[in-house]
Symmetry: C2
């Protein structure tokens, strides 16, 4: 399936919105309501949905439960994928034990750090390895996703190593901008955008 990032971003948000509606016990939702929640047009929402080859629109709108289940299936959200974390500083070790990742389809199966000292002191139920084991572990365990939490200056080098080892996706929590080939899934997790969003919100509350 070939979907643009913007379509996927919207569909992911739709999924989250359906999730919240289901929790509130809502049965049906219109594409108009979805459009308003996402700040886009009715037309865009219907186009995104049709790109997924989904049907099931009734006069009352989409069935929330059916729609959510279909989306999860189409997007393979329930498929378990393996992730590893590179850089076991504070953020890296915090993410090692991030329980929600598993619910969201990613099981962290390994952690890596270049400091043997750090590896020896770390307390976690996830297996940790020196960087020299990166390729072996990623290939041997078919790890799909690499989560980068190293300092900015090492981020690109780590990304290159991950790609060389056959990783399919990268989440970059370092503030560095990383360049990856087009076939690699890449997401920048730097908090800059969130902090800017909040800063900008302050002006609307004055």
């Amino acid at each position: 399936m070939d979907l643009s990032n913007n379509t996927i971003e919207r569909i992911t948000k739709i999924y989250g919105y359906l999730d919240a509606l289901e929790e509130r016990g809502v049965d049906f939702v219109s594409s108009k309501e979805l459009a308003e929640a996402l700040g886009t047009t009715d037309h865009t929402i219907r186009k995104d949905i049709s790109l997924l080859g989904m049907t099931g629109y009734t006069r009352k709108g989409y069935s929330v439960r059916f729609f959510k289940k279909e989306l999860a299936k189409k997007l393979e959200l329930n498929k378990k994928r393996k992730a590893c974390i590179i850089g076991l500083g504070r953020l890296g070790t915090a993410l090692l034990d991030y329980e929600r990742a598993k619910e969201d389809g990613f099981e962290v199966v390994a952690g890596f750090d270049c400091s043997i000292n750090k590896l020896e002191r770390i307390r976690t139920h996830i297996e940790v390895f020196p960087m020299s084991e990166l390729e072996n572990i990623i290939k041997g365990r078919s790890v799909d996703l690499g989560i980068i939490t190293v300092p900015a200056k090492s981020a690109q080098q780590v990304a290159d190593q991950l790609i060389e080892a056959g990783i399919k996706g990268i989440l970059n929590f370092s503030p560095a901008k990383i360049v990856v080939p087009k076939n690699i899934i890449y997401l920048d997790m730097d908090f800059t955008n969130a902090l800017r969003f909040v800063a900008a919100k302050f002006i609307t509350k004055q």
Copy 2:
């Protein structure tokens, strides 16, 4: 100024895009290019920009440098605001020392935790306090933003305490959904959406 969340989200993304263009040495950008980068329409972008009361569109498009500077001024992105972090586990302590926050306009001035033991062991250049000091410090130092990194079960209670103490904005890194009054700036920083986005991207690369 009264701007919707969706407008602010787009404008924040525009700012990030202008930042990248400036780094690449690009001088002008059209609203069409901005629309494509953000996956929205030309019309929406022009409406967002006009809501800010901005002008300066020439035949070549917007001047990247001028536009970025004007946006920073309108959104008060350069104004320094004070933040505090509540919950000094691994993620909380990682964020205590997140250097980029300062560049993005937020100075972390205090950390809080309910465990005196944890407070005594922590190594950071930021001042840390027991929870009983929360209100005093927030009021005394005019702290604007509270960053919640406590476990899910305590998140709502901490949010209530922050709001009681007069905080203006909350970033919630816990997986709990928090309810806040409308006048409080609120942003959910749970990684669930990002992980879903990445999971969905996998299907497009098969």
